[in-house]
Symmetry: C2
Subunit: 175 residues, 2 copies
Amino acid sequence: MVRDKEATKRKLLDAATTEFATYGIAGARVDRIAKNAGANKALIYAYFCSKEYLFETVVQEQVDAAIEAVPITPDDLPGYAGRLFDRYLEHPEVMRLMGWLRLENGFDAVPEAEVRAHADKVAAIRAAQRTGSVPDHFDAEELLSLVVHLSILGFTSPIASRDLVVRAVGRIVGT
Amino acid sequence: MVRDKEATKRKLLDAATTEFATYGIAGARVDRIAKNAGANKALIYAYFCSKEYLFETVVQEQVDAAIEAVPITPDDLPGYAGRLFDRYLEHPEVMRLMGWLRLENGFDAVPEAEVRAHADKVAAIRAAQRTGSVPDHFDAEELLSLVVHLSILGFTSPIASRDLVVRAVGRIVGT
DNA sequence: GGCTGTCAACCAACCAGTTAGTTAGACTGG
DNA sequence: CCAGTCTAACTAACTGGTTGGTTGACAGCC
């Protein structure tokens, strides 16, 4: 047996990510997380204080990763939406975790990292609008909301395709 | 005490609607539903068999009501999106219930009533496209998905307004 | 009297969180 | 190099409380 705190934390976080994405906060079972991580339940409380705080840690980590993986391209918003669409298709856990978070902890329970990243993206779009490379019939914040929202079309509609999202954003952004 | 089976069922359904919309299936408490309905817990099992089946009944009822309340207007899809937006603002339970359903029972667990209504709406849009009153750069089914999806923008973005949704759908539908 | 709606009390299963104790392995003094 | 010691990672078993579901008795109505 290897005694490695960080490695064990990692295994617990991985198991918790799957568990929370599948069952949500109320539905997740601490025993199952420990078992799937091959670790003891008490370690969850030693390392993450509580089930709730473990969930927050998982969300934080996943949101950070998603934000870093798909940087915004203000001059190509349809392409940005397409890359977001791809990301969510590859990592549906993020969307599921956010879904649980919003339903269980209220609709304004937004991870801090997301708030910061959001502000940066609005600024980037606004700058692009000033140079004229992005039309301004929508306010920068409105435009970002629309683009991001359209990129998650795949979770609402079974017939949604990458191409559909890209074309729709193309029409929203305009010429 | 009044002994009225239908009235008791109604009170239980109302309490269950609030409870399930707030806490989901796993998070909902049968005792709390009974208490809030002013009825006994055993009646839930007498009338609705199980917690799961009670949830299904609630969802069915709410979805039916929502479908009936907002009929489609193929020639005015922005207006349709606006009315859906209003409906969800007034009755957020429906969206929350659907959210729980999708997360807890899988993303293809769509109520039967919704499937039927969906097909009708696609047909209506397709007909409008044939008469030329709706442009056909999007397939009818794609168009409906986009319109419905945009109407729930309020659940993703805190800055979403009715006007924003209407304008966005306007650009999607085109002239 | 029998049928039906209602209920308090109950139960077995489950679950988040705790604790008292065990052990791997790093460190130390010789 | 090694015996002794100390610490922190780890664990099995337990606890207090909760939860979905049941049951047997009782009350009102034909």
